[in-house]
């Protein structure tokens, strides 16, 4: 239950509070009748001891670090008509959407120090914090909106605001023309207020309400709601930064993103901080039509022979454009595959495709899974093309995207390649630190991890970092021993199988062997070149968003980043073709933790945006 923090005082009204006097005179203004109490619901006639709300004090815990948490949308901001300081009636929406907005309902005659004055005090504190960061300051607006239209005229609001707002800060003091105008706003924000009446039935001038301060993002969605028990400038500012960091919002070194759904920046120009320019084949320039068509194809399960698998069923947007629930992907009719579905983040930058590097161009690559008997299993190119021609959802779309050309082997490849070239992600904490010069973007542990990554642990030898950008890959193939072990190793007789949370059984391997068909052998790059030296070599994966693409390695055999770092610290798995770069590293536990912290800092700022865009695409299924 939410606390009932605001306790009206009927005997006196304490007006015109300022932050400066709140902690001194302002408090005393209230205190004669009672002291403050922040947390406990209380009965009107009790006079319990009260304390100042946390918002007035130094925060007793460390506010969560910006960007380390999510603020999921809680719904849209309410709408309605408000009066600005000049008395003009305008939609509230005009004050929302272009900036992050901290919105507080108040009334100027509010006389509970832990009520409206608290909200105003914290907003005042925010001003100071924002002054220290100009990039952020320009992105934030504060709005104090009265819910006492009878008393709080525009003029009263201007007077009130003058006491708090400094340096022409973007802090608006709004009211409404009438109680009727106010109601939709209150409903929209689910803010209940109640006028107080005395025993004679006369309005006391007090309005009982639960303190709520709202944080709104640039899409006018509510992203946090603060109550008296945790409203604090430190928390609010970190939340604002967290919002600014997501979706590659600018001001933090990350440039606007190229996404298919946004309809802008679709040139895929590699403008994201930390990425190089994206090379796009001359014969397949990115266009919005192609990207949207490619996205539609990507999510269409009818692109498999029996209508069960789309590209997105293995490259799942919410699971890092891979599948976090499987070590190796599962093909049509459950057919066994050998390898982990690779993430598609930044695949447009990859010079070699597939774990074994058998392909080098996305336009060509797409046909391999479409036709592989154990993947989407279409019997022929013609079968796919004919099906696309028969589906009403695609009518005219190829022709529109490809200058009159209909579905064909070339245009299907170009469309899917175009969509995949928009799945670019960077602007991570690392990028802000390394390429953006923001010293505070990376914490000490992650910075130490980067030092190890490029030093003692030698990760950078294959996971390349350039001066102006980093893809964290050498686009080459290496033998780490993982593939060798599967082909040549002798597995244990017993296997630990977790059958339910907390229940792990020791099962005879014989049962597992009997239960299944033996998985096909996997010899890596050798299967392409026929060169025995290429046995068990696999592509160096890019590491951006690596925290999102577990499990790891070409066969998904390592479940966590920590396991991967431990694997390399042991020097991989010995075999005659083991890459000489893979050697025991002698890393301590703390050092391995640091490397993991660094890897976790590589998650791009626009991940949510790319996922949200993907989710707007309806899945293609059989219709009647």
């Amino acid at each position: 239950m939410a606390p009932y923090p605001w306790r009206p005082i009927t005997e006196r009204r304490c007006n015109r509070l300022t932050p400066a006097v709140l902690l001194a005179a302002g408090v005393f203004c209230l205190i004669p009748a009672e002291t403050l109490h922040a947390q406990q619901p209380q009965h009107r006639h009790e006079a319990p001891a009260q304390i100042l709300a946390p918002g007035y004090r130094v925060l007793e815990y460390e506010a969560p670090e910006p960007g380390t948490y999510q603020l999921p949308p809680l719904g849209r901001a309410g709408g309605g008509l408000v009066l600005d300081e000049a008395g003009r009636e305008r939609p509230l929406n005009e004050f929302l959407g272009d900036k992050f907005v901290v919105l507080s309902f108040i009334f100027t005659s509010c006389n509970d120090v832990n009520g409206c004055p608290l909200a105003t005090f914290v907003l005042g504190q925010l001003q100071q914090r924002l002054d220290a960061d100009r990039r952020l300051k320009d992105q934030v607006r504060m709005v104090s909106l009265s819910f006492d239209p009878d008393f709080d005229t525009p003029q009263v609001m201007v007077e009130y605001g003058r006491k708090f707002s400094r340096n022409n800060y973007d802090w608006r003091f709004l009211t409404t023309a009438s109680t009727e105008r106010l109601q939709p706003l209150l409903r929209g924000f689910n803010q209940s207020v109640q006028k107080e009446y005395n025993e004679a039935g006369e309005y006391t001038g007090n309005i009982s309400h639960i303190l709520r301060v709202f944080l709104l993002d640039k899409a006018s969605r509510v992203r946090n709601i603060y109550s008296v028990s945790f409203l604090h400038a430190d928390t609010v500012i970190n939340d604002i930064i967290t919002l600014a960091m997501e979706g590659g919002d600018d001001g933090f070194g990350a440039a606007p993103q190229a996404t298919a759904g946004a309809g802008e920046g679709a040139a895929g120009d590699g403008a994201l901080s930390g990425l190089p320019a994206l090379e796009i084949p001359e014969n397949n320039p990115l266009t919005q039509e192609k990207i949207l068509l490619g996205r539609q194809l990507f999510f269409d399960r009818r692109l498999s022979h029996n209508n069960t698998l789309s590209c997105a069923m293995c490259h799942i947007p919410e699971q890092g454009f891979t599948s976090q629930e499987l070590s190796v992907a599962i093909g049509i009719e459950g057919r066994t595959l050998r390898r982990n579905a690779p993430t598609l983040y930044n695949v447009g930058f990859a010079r070699v495709l597939f774990h074994d590097a058998r392909e080098n161009l996305l336009e060509q690559q797409v046909w391999t899974p479409l036709l592989a008997r154990n993947e989407m299993a279409n019997p022929s190119v013609g079968f796919v093309i004919d099906r696309l021609k028969s589906l009403p959802e695609y009518r005219g779309k190829f022709e529109q995207a490809f200058d009159g050309k209909g579905p064909g082997m070339e245009t299907v490849g170009m469309a899917l390649a175009s969509y995949q070239r928009t799945l670019n992600s960077a602007g991570s904490a690392f990028d802000r630190w390394y390429y953006g010069g923001d010293k505070d973007a990376l914490d000490e542990q992650a910075r130490a991890g980067f030092g190890l990554f490029t030093g003692k642990a030698r990760c950078v030898a294959c996971h390349t970092v350039n001066r102006d950008y980093a893809l964290f890959t050498d686009h080459a193939l290496h033998n780490t021993g993982i593939g060798y072990l599967v082909s040549m190793g002798t597995p244990d007789d017993k296997v630990q199988v977790t059958v339910a949370p907390g229940t792990t059984l020791t099962v005879d391997r014989a049962f597992i062997t009997l239960a299944g068909k033996p998985a096909p052998n996997d010899l890596g790059h050798y299967e392409i070149t026929g060169d025995p030296d290429d046995r068990w070599k696999y592509r160096t994966p890019m590491l951006r968003n690596v925290a999102l693409s577990a499990p790891y390695m070409h066969n998904g055999s390592l479940r966590t980043l920590r396991e991967v770092v431990e694997f390399y610290n042991r020097g991989g798995i010995r075999n005659e073709l083991l890459d000489p770069l893979v050697q025991p590293l002698g890393l301590s536990d703390a050092e391995m933790d640091s490397i993991v912290a660094f890897l976790n800092s590589l998650t791009g700022s626009n991940v949510d945006e790319l996922v949200a865009d993907a989710l707007t695409q309806p899945v293609g299924n059989v219709t009647r």
Binding site: R301, N306, N307, T308, A312, M313, I316, E318, Q319, S323, Q324, E325, L326, S327, V328, I330, E333, G334, T336, V495, V497, T498, V499, A500, P501, G502, T503, L505, T506, V507, F511, I512, T513, L514, A515, G516, K517, A519, P551, G556, R559, V619, N621, V622, T623, R624
Partner: protein, 455 residues
Amino acid sequence: MKQLTGPVYFIAFLFLLSITSTASADETCMSPYMAKIVGQEDFVYVWTLGMEGLGDEQDKLVTVDVNPQSENYGKVVHTLSVGGRNEAHHSGLTDDRRYLWASGLDTSRIFIFDIHTDPAEPRLHKTIDDFVSRSGGVVGPHTSYAMPGRMLITGLSNDKDHGGITGMVEYTNDGEYIATYWMPTDGDLQGAAKSGSFADGYGYDVRALPRRNVLVTSSFTGWNNYMMDLGQMMADPEAMQRFGNTVVVWDLHKRQPKKVLDVPGAPLELRCAWGSRNNYCFTTTALTSKIWLIYEDDGGDWHAKPVADIGVAEQIPLPVDISISADDSLLWVDTWNDGMARVFDISDPHNAKEIYAEKIGAQINMLSQSWDGKRVYFTSSLLSNWDKRQAEEGEDLQYFKSYTWDGEKLTLQFSIDFLAAGLGMPHQMRFGSYALYAKNRPAGEDGAVSVAANY
């Protein structure tokens, strides 16, 4: 050929919301809303998976004549291939028992067979191809459960990630989509109370206790796992984390989840008691090998508790189909991996005891018993990519077997080798009877004595 006891007669009747102790049991596991065959069944319809490299390789409905009075007794009298391998799995009859709905867990197609026009020769009445799009993304239709004039179909997966999050879908008996009810998850409990650690949103089976206004659902796993090679899956720790751990109790009338119960280890088949005061159901957990009781206490609250171990968990017996006797005294439990049919005494539902076990084949999955409990049928197949590839010497791999049960032991009557017959992998069985449709066995066959269904 053994003659069954007593005069052979047929009665079929519809059970209404109030079930009495004389009332209704595969016959014992059907919807209480459905007409029952309480005498000798004529046919068993076997929904059969097609198998690559065998016969015509596609899914089919196989009709076996099981009436000892028939000259075709013990024979396959009809097969109907439907095209493709759809991962044929479960099937269910409409409340009027005129149609058999049989679904495919892979392609999500539902085949509606007319079994009343000629019970000996089912015909394909309609195919629902757009289950996924109509339902809003539910994949893997599993149980087809009769509601009055409607079919409630549980899903196993979804079209977003082929994981286990899924829903139930309701259709009219005509095959028209009505509604989708997503299973409660941690992210959206839909008003249900989460009573333990889990609210996974997974689905599998459904059963109704209409007099308690209760619907009960269980939870298995998503497409990724049920379509995967079993050996590969057991060796994949990521995949093994994706099994259901919940049973959900729903408000039947509102189709709203009320309470999510922890039942860890993939609770599969659900069977509710028939007795008028027996407010409980049973399920078994496939991976942790236990019988669980789902019961209502005196205060009207629902709980789950394990009431027996089934075999030795480390040997992964893998309990699959179960069947409750019409008098709520016995629970049959098939354990797939060791091929055993086990009988538990559940007269004290809180304390189940194994009283009998018999090896049926190299593997075993479904069982169906007659209403009087005297005839029990078994099939072998679990899932196309989980089934065993070979059997020990002398064991049958893919079969339909007919037994009699005398209260103490099973006696084999006949067996059909589905591989030798080029049919495929036999799964769910449903009973057919001429009497249900006021029909007589065609002239020229012996023993056709029938009483018309009256409902």
